[in-house]
């Protein structure tokens, strides 16, 4: 797969993922299980995460977002491709050589209930990274943990409590404190707020933004809530069935999406402003997401694409900058949406998605 090199110098890039592929074998039934196929969870994804910035990863359930995240974090081995972190290819490292990089890349998980061990005290959970990497012991560790708890907005006196004694938002803060304990460079947040109430979501997002500034963190932020992604991200990457559909700086991607899938996703997002919600036009996709075991040939989106033509089912569209776009805005589409083109069957109207962006502005104002 050919990917144009983004223009940043490598010094500004923390993580560069090159043609990452992850196939999960599908085993048949029987005593000696035979591999009968592969789930092509991630199929040749390339991306870069700029230093100190946030890359938002968007896509439907099952498009390979979480698998991609876990491959980058080194939690599951990639089938092929490279994950270059600060100049080192992580996919070639064994467990021992990987250890120092574990400190640099940390994850925040979606489920604030499942991601904390119910049988361990909060102090011991947050102190775990110190214990594993032997960076602090005894009273020193306790002090570091309590500092961390205070930093994420928890009462340090709750050191000896169990996770069950905290609310969802507080639990997410505990997970955040654990991830930050080793002062990582990259935080991979796998839908960190989707299990929380909207008000708590805002608190956690603000906290993430503060911490990013204070610690100089880079984020890979995964979510299916487009507004949340727009709020937190500098760059956005849209995935469909294990491939990149569109990527680029958030404003061009949100304001003038070139890939029909991006446009459809944006049009499906609920608008916060009721006037915009009434005026917006939805692009209705037909059919279901095809099985990643047997993905369609050519462009993977073509069976559901309103603009699909003969070529789309035959040839895989390269991820490239389309005419009139900045060189960082890449789209994998043979027939990208032209400005002012309307994909909804109805006549002129405020294009879907634009309405929703109005809603996000007020959201953005809250953190300023």
């Amino acid at each position: 797969m050919t990917t144009p090199q983004p223009p940043e110098a490598d010094g500004d890039v923390l993580v560069r993922v090159e043609s990452l592929v992850k196939y999960f074998p599908v085993k048949g039934a029987g005593l000696v299980a035979r591999t009968v196929g592969h789930v092509q969870a991630v199929d040749g994804v390339s991306l870069t995460i700029p230093r100190g910035k946030t890359l938002g990863l968007v896509g439907e359930t099952g498009c390979g977002k979480s698998t991609l995240a876990r491959c980058i974090a080194g939690l599951i081995p990639a089938t092929s491709g490279q994950v270059i972190f600060d100049g080192t290819d992580l996919t070639r490292l064994n467990r021992r050589a990987m250890r120092p990089f574990r400190r640099e890349i940390q994850m925040i998980f979606q489920d604030p209930y499942g991601s904390l061990n119910p049988r361990r005290r909060v102090g011991s959970i947050i102190g775990d990274p110190f214990a594993v990497h032997k960076t602090a012991t005894g009273n020193e560790r306790k002090k570091a943990v309590q500092e961390m708890m205070e930093r994420v907005g928890l009462n340090p006196e709750h050191y000896n409590r169990f996770p069950a004694e905290f609310s969802g938002g507080q639990r997410q803060r505990i997970g955040l404190a654990r991830a930050l304990a080793l002062r990582p460079k990259l935080i991979i947040a796998d839908e960190p707020v989707s299990a929380l109430d909207v008000s708590i979501q805002a608190q956690i997002l603000n906290l993430l933004a503060d911490l990013q500034q204070d610690f100089g963190l880079s984020f890979l932020f995964i979510a299916h809530d487009l507004e949340v992604v727009r709020h937190v991200s500098d760059q956005v990457l849209v995935m469909y069935l294990g491939r990149v559909a569109e990527q680029g700086p958030k404003d061009p991607v949100y304001d003038t999406p070139r890939h029909p899938y991006t446009a459809a996703l944006l049009s499906a997002a609920p608008a916060a402003d009721p006037d915009a919600a009434a005026a917006r036009q939805r692009i209705i996709l037909t059919g279901d997401v095809p099985s990643p075991i047997n993905p369609p040939a050519g462009c993977r989106f073509h069976p559901r694409c309103p603009k699909a033509q003969e070529l789309c089912s035959q040839q895989d569209p390269p991820l490239e900058s389309k005419a009139g776009d900045p060189p960082t805005h890449l789209t994998a589409c043979h027939f990208p949406i032209q400005p002012h083109e309307d994909l909804t069957t109805s006549t002129v109207g405020s294009r879907a998605g634009l309405g929703t962006s109005t809603g996000s502005d007020s959201f953005g104002g809250g953190t300023a």
Partner: protein, 337 residues
């Protein structure tokens, strides 16, 4: 309302007010529940008394003035040479050689409880390690270990125990070894299943992303979540081990006379059952009481450890009550056809 406003309001309420609640560990909660269970507490007390009696057996023996191995041919046997019944001198009567049955039963309790606890301890430790290893690593290791567990469970253990005892010669350590070997597999199977489900939890993934190695994950992250089911299984494994020991001793391949154990006391008693009821009744009674107490305690521990079962029972009780209410005579409704 815009998100900004929502956010502002949320800021005001905060996540939750700081309360001066004493954090209770899952253990303390379980203990509080267990304390409410009168049957379990009574069983636990009985076990404690038995253990005390066993530990103090030498003291009691000297207080009574009867050693466990001395035949009291003058006072302990009647004119026909048969054991004498319970009396002030011999609380539980005497055995076939005129020895004090009370003292021998207490010494037997030492052996039975020792075998019960030690073999359960060994079997549980082995079962937890094997089950966790199989469940966590999966793949070939799991296949091999799981088949091994199955074959141990499928083995006719009395036959193997007999064979082993014959090969190594019957002794206390062989008895403990044999019982341990047959008690780990059941625990390993449960632990394996639990580990399989726990290792998919996000907190295990979080531990891996921190950089924890497999052993640290197994013993620090997974083991604490296994303790509740393991503790229940272990409590229920003790009476099984005690009965197993009695069986082996009864068959003559466990604890060898003159050392007394409940099993070999029963074995010796069977020649006298027509004339001396006490010879059979006291060892059997102690065996029954002990195993019953452990089983009831095990049930209590299970209820205390797993609040879900408690709630299940509570809802059943409630269901019964409301059913009873419904069964109460109500004014006859007019039939509508």
């Amino acid at each position: 309302m815009s998100l900004t406003q929502i956010e502002f309001q949320a800021e005001g309420t905060g996540d939750a007010p700081a309360q001066a609640i004493q954090g209770r560990s899952p253990w303390m909660l379980a203990w509080r529940r267990l304390r409410q269970d009168k049957v379990a507490i009574a069983s636990g007390a009985l076990i404690l008394v038995l253990a005390l009696l066993a530990i103090l057996a030498p003291v009691i023996s000297s207080l009574v003035g009867h050693s466990p191995d001395t035949p009291y041919t003058n006072t302990g046997l009647n004119s026909q040479g048969l054991p004498v019944g319970p009396s002030g001198t011999f609380l539980f009567g005497t055995d076939g050689l005129g020895r004090d049955l009370f003292v021998r039963v207490l010494y037997g309790a030492q052996i039975s409880l020792l075998v019960g606890f030690v073999s359960t301890l060994i079997g549980t430790a082995a079962g937890v390690v094997m089950g966790m290893t199989a469940g966590y690593f999966g793949g070939v290791i799991d296949t091999v270990l799981a088949r091994f567990i199955d074959s141990v469970l499928a083995f006719p253990y009395v036959v193997l125990a007999l064979a082993l005892a014959v090969v190594f010669g019957p002794s206390l350590s062989v008895t403990i070894g044999v019982i341990s070997f047959f008690s780990w597999a059941a625990i390993a199977r449960v632990v394996r299943g639990q580990t399989l489900s726990i290792k998919e939890k996000e907190y295990v993934e979080a531990a891996r992303s921190i950089g924890s190695g497999p052993w640290r994950i197994m013993f620090i992250d997974i083991l604490p979540n296994l303790i509740a089911p393991v503790l229940v299984l272990a409590t229920l494994a003790v009476p099984t081990a005690i009965v197993f020991e009695a069986t082996l001793s009864y068959l003559g391949v466990g604890i060898q006379p003159p050392t007394s154990s409940w099993g070999n006391l029963l074995s010796q008693a069977q020649t006298f059952y027509q004339t001396s009821w006490w010879y059979l009744v006291f060892p059997a009674g102690f065996l029954l009481l002990t195993t019953l107490a452990f089983n009831l305690l095990g049930d209590g521990v299970r209820d205390a450890m797993d609040p879900r079962t408690e709630r299940l029972f509570a809802s059943q009780r409630k269901g019964r009550r409301s059913a009873a209410k419904r069964a109460r005579p109500t004014p006859p409704a007019t039939e509508v056809s």
